[in-house]
């Protein structure tokens, strides 16, 4: 027993330093690892700091005044009246939670006196005048992570000498995070029907909307209140399908104004690229609703747009645009059954009418473009047809300012509908001019 105790004591004496050494080594290793981590972290931070460039040795160009450093604001500074957007500046960039933009579009026209009398010009009732067609205030941005919103308020002179009217042009919410490649937009919108309908006046590639669009949808185009859904399926090629349900407020084509008999719209759009330089967009659209007389009205549209943009160019060299509309619409007509010159009863008559346009534009220089549009269109209700040639030239002093001048010749087969006040507008010659500007934010233009 004594021997065992002795051996145990000796063993403890021998192992104790070894165990202490092992513990020290482990602690040391941990410490080294910790130091390595700290070193790595410091190195990372140092790399980030080194990545910051030194103060720029820039000599500012004389024409573009270099922004000065903002001084500290005193109480007196804060009490001073502020300039527009002063609050925005002092809060710092990016603090305004949505974008604001203004687009102005002024147009003028010169035409014959008899056309003015008959109010048969492109800007009916505004012949031989210069006027603000559309001054638009746009507010747009994200509502939250799931939705964005756009509000556009427009002011413009709608009739000769009238006071400028202000109205809500668009206001809609887009739900961005729906599943299966879908998106919903609801509110008051410019309908995505064909190419030009959703383009605002100041963004159109011509001074005026194509005749066929004005004849079948009215001067303002198709603008409705309701809901639109789009689907972009995950395919190797681009295709967008759209379906919408609206009130049917458009008086020119529908006018039933009730969801009891809604206006239903649809569109299918695809896009093809031939290398980097050539691109084509093709689409078909449909809108079907009822007129105030509760009679059916359906319009089918087709569109095509081609652009040739040489490699490295900032703008397309050639742009071709075409659209067509075909309308099936029923009307009430008086029937004189016994031939006594007095209508005996109402009958329904279907009128199938159509029209189209083709425009070509060449832009050899960044600031200059010229083009020609040919229109041919019947009228949804009246007999006859009209055709127009419209050569034009555009000049952009900068990205935000554009001037355009055009000559438009219109020949009509009938006077019906263009003979107000004893005038006549069978043949119309017009000089059109336009000045447009953009102030502030403006979203990029789609193809």
């Amino acid at each position: 027993m004594r021997v065992s105790a002795l051996v145990f004591v000796l063993l403890c004496a021998a192992l104790a330093p070894a165990s202490a050494t092992a513990q020290d080594a482990a602690a040391l290793r941990r410490e080294i690892e910790q130091l390595q981590k700290q070193l790595q972290s410091v190195t990372e931070r140092l790399q980030r700091l080194e990545a910051q460039p030194p103060a720029p040795a820039q000599v500012p160009p004389a024409a573009a005044p270099a922004p000065a450093t903002a001084p500290g604001l005193s109480a007196i500074d804060l009490a001073r009246p502020r300039q527009p957007f002063g609050l925005y500046q002092q809060r710092g960039a990016g603090q305004l939670l949505f974008d604001i933009g203004i687009a102005g579009d002024f147009v003028g026209n010169l035409t014959q006196k008899n056309v003015e009398k008959a109010q048969g010009g492109t800007f009916a009732g505004q012949e031989n005048r210069f006027f603000p067609r559309e001054v638009e205030l746009s507010l747009f941005g994200q509502i939250d992570p799931y939705a964005s919103a756009v509000v556009r308020i427009e002011a413009g002179e709608e009739a000769r000498g009238a006071e400028t009217g202000v109205h809500l042009a668009e206001a809609y919410i887009t739900l961005l995070t729906l599943p299966f490649g879908t998106q919903a937009r609801f509110g008051q919108v410019r309908n995505r029907f064909g190419y030009s309908n959703e383009v605002h006046e100041h963004d159109l590639p011509w001074v005026d909307r194509p005749n066929v669009m004005r004849n079948f949808f009215g001067g303002e185009g198709l603008q409705e209140k309701g809901i639109e859904m789009t689907l972009v399926p995950d395919l190797p090629f681009y295709i967008e399908a759209l379906a919408g349900v609206f009130n049917g407020d458009n008086e020119t084509a529908f006018g039933r104004t009730s969801l009891q008999a809604p206006l239903v719209t649809g569109r299918l759009r695809t896009f093809l690229e031939l290398g980097n330089e050539h691109a084509v967009q093709l689409g078909v659209s449909v809108a079907s609703g009822q007129t105030p007389e509760r009679l059916p009205s359906t319009i089918l549209g087709w569109e095509g747009r081609y652009k040739y943009r040489p490699e490295g160019w900032l703008h397309p060299l050639v742009t071709l645009t075409t659209e067509g509309l075909y309308s099936w619409r029923q009307f009430n007509v008086d029937v004189d059954a016994d031939g006594d010159g007095v209508a005996d009863f109402l009958d329904k008559k279907q009128k199938n009418r159509w029209g189209w346009y083709l425009g070509g534009e060449i832009q050899p220089w960044r600031r200059w473009a010229g083009g020609l549009r040919f229109d041919w269109s019947q009228y949804p209700e009246n007999p006859g047809a009209e055709r127009s040639f419209e050569p034009y030239i555009s000049f952009w002093p900068s990205e935000f300012l554009r001037f355009r001048a055009a000559y438009k010749r219109t020949d009509r087969t009938h006077r019906d509908g263009f003979d107000l006040n004893g005038g006549s507008a069978r043949t119309v010659d017009e000089f059109l001019f336009q000045a447009s500007f953009i102030l502030g934010a403006h979203p990029a233009h789609p193809f």
Binding site: A63, A64, P145, G181, Q183, S398, A444, P446
Partner: protein, 305 residues
């Protein structure tokens, strides 16, 4: 039976090309707004990512036409890497047309790599368009300054990790390997431009301030009257006079800008107009991030000699 097989074969022939390859389907689909960010994402993501760029290197990144083909790329994206500072704000229109909730603003798949960048040319006073197409948030052309790559790649890693946290170590490793190669190249670039520190250059569009500052060069004037505004004859005369007086040897031109005009001005002033890659792929041979900076540094050094 034979008819059924024939129909099945024809259907497969039609549908087959539409289906993505299995290997591609496993990868993370990243779309970058500009080629510089595509190149850097490829460096960080390695084999785990498949990256496409919306803009091409020869284009002006401010003005990209919103084609539906961009929406198609974005439709399939898991992650969108954007430059920010309003350089690529056009991408928002394409995103809204792509119907892809993964990359809408505020979604985890949206990666703004300008986070943490010390932005230059930030206006501290009121700006408006009389100053031209100024960027209220500051100069957005930081991506081809090699000194910014550590921050940009860190932001890209953070974005990729949000989508695939299991690959964090790989992304970190790829990033470190890339930064090591960049460090070596940086030493070479610094040596090449060391003799020209303090030299003044004229630029066509004010998008070179980051790389010029990095290597100690200074921007004396711009050929554009103001950003985005074409030069007037009076402005060009002034620039030529300044170049002669200050013995400025070069005008830097972007691949998409008017080289003829720059050459004419340079000849008048007894200088050279040189084209630098404003983005990866902007000039021949600049097909990777380091190759693009190599081209720019070598061209600068030669022209300043």
């Amino acid at each position: 039976m034979r008819r059924a097989i024939l129909i099945l074969g024809a259907a497969l022939a039609v549908i087959g090309p539409m289906l993505p390859a299995a290997s591609a389907a496993d990868k993370i689909h990243v779309v970058a707004t500009i080629p510089d960010l595509k190149a850097l994402t490829e460096e960080v993501g390695g084999n785990l990512v498949e990256v496409e760029s919306l803009a091409r290197g020869t284009q002006n990144a401010h003005e990209i036409e919103i084609r539906p083909s961009l929406m198609l790329k974005l439709r399939r994206a898991d992650i969108l890497v954007e430059n920010g500072l309003e350089l690529d704000s056009w991408a928002e229109v394409a995103v809204q047309g792509a119907n892809n909730p993964k990359i809408v603003r505020g979604a985890p798949g949206r990666v703004d790599v300008s986070r943490g960048i010390q932005v230059l040319d930030v206006p501290a006073t009121r700006v408006d368009r009389s100053m031209g197409d100024v960027h209220p948030l500051g100069n957005p052309h930081y991506s081809l300054d090699p000194g910014m790559a550590p921050i940009i790649t860190q932001n890209i890693v953070d974005g990729l990790v949000r989508f695939a946290p299991e690959h964090r170590a790989t992304f970190e490793k790829n990033r470190q390997a890339f930064l090591a190669r960049l460090d070596e190249a940086m030493a070479r670039w610094t040596r090449a431009l060391e003799p020209f520190k303090g030299a003044k250059v004229v630029v066509y569009h004010p998008q070179w301030i980051y790389i010029l500052s990095r290597f100690g060069l200074s921007q004396a004037a711009t050929l554009e009257d103001r950003p985005g505004i074409p030069a007037s004859p009076a402005h060009l005369t002034k620039v030529i006079r300044q170049m002669k007086e200050e013995r400025i040897k070069m005008i830097i031109v972007e691949p998409w800008n008017d080289l003829k005009l720059a050459t004419r001005v340079a000849e008048e002033a007894g200088a050279k107009a040189v084209v630098l890659a404003s983005m990866v792929g902007g000039v021949k041979g600049a097909d990777s991030y380091i190759a693009a900076i190599d081209h720019n540094v070598n061209t600068l050094a030669q022209a300043l000699r």
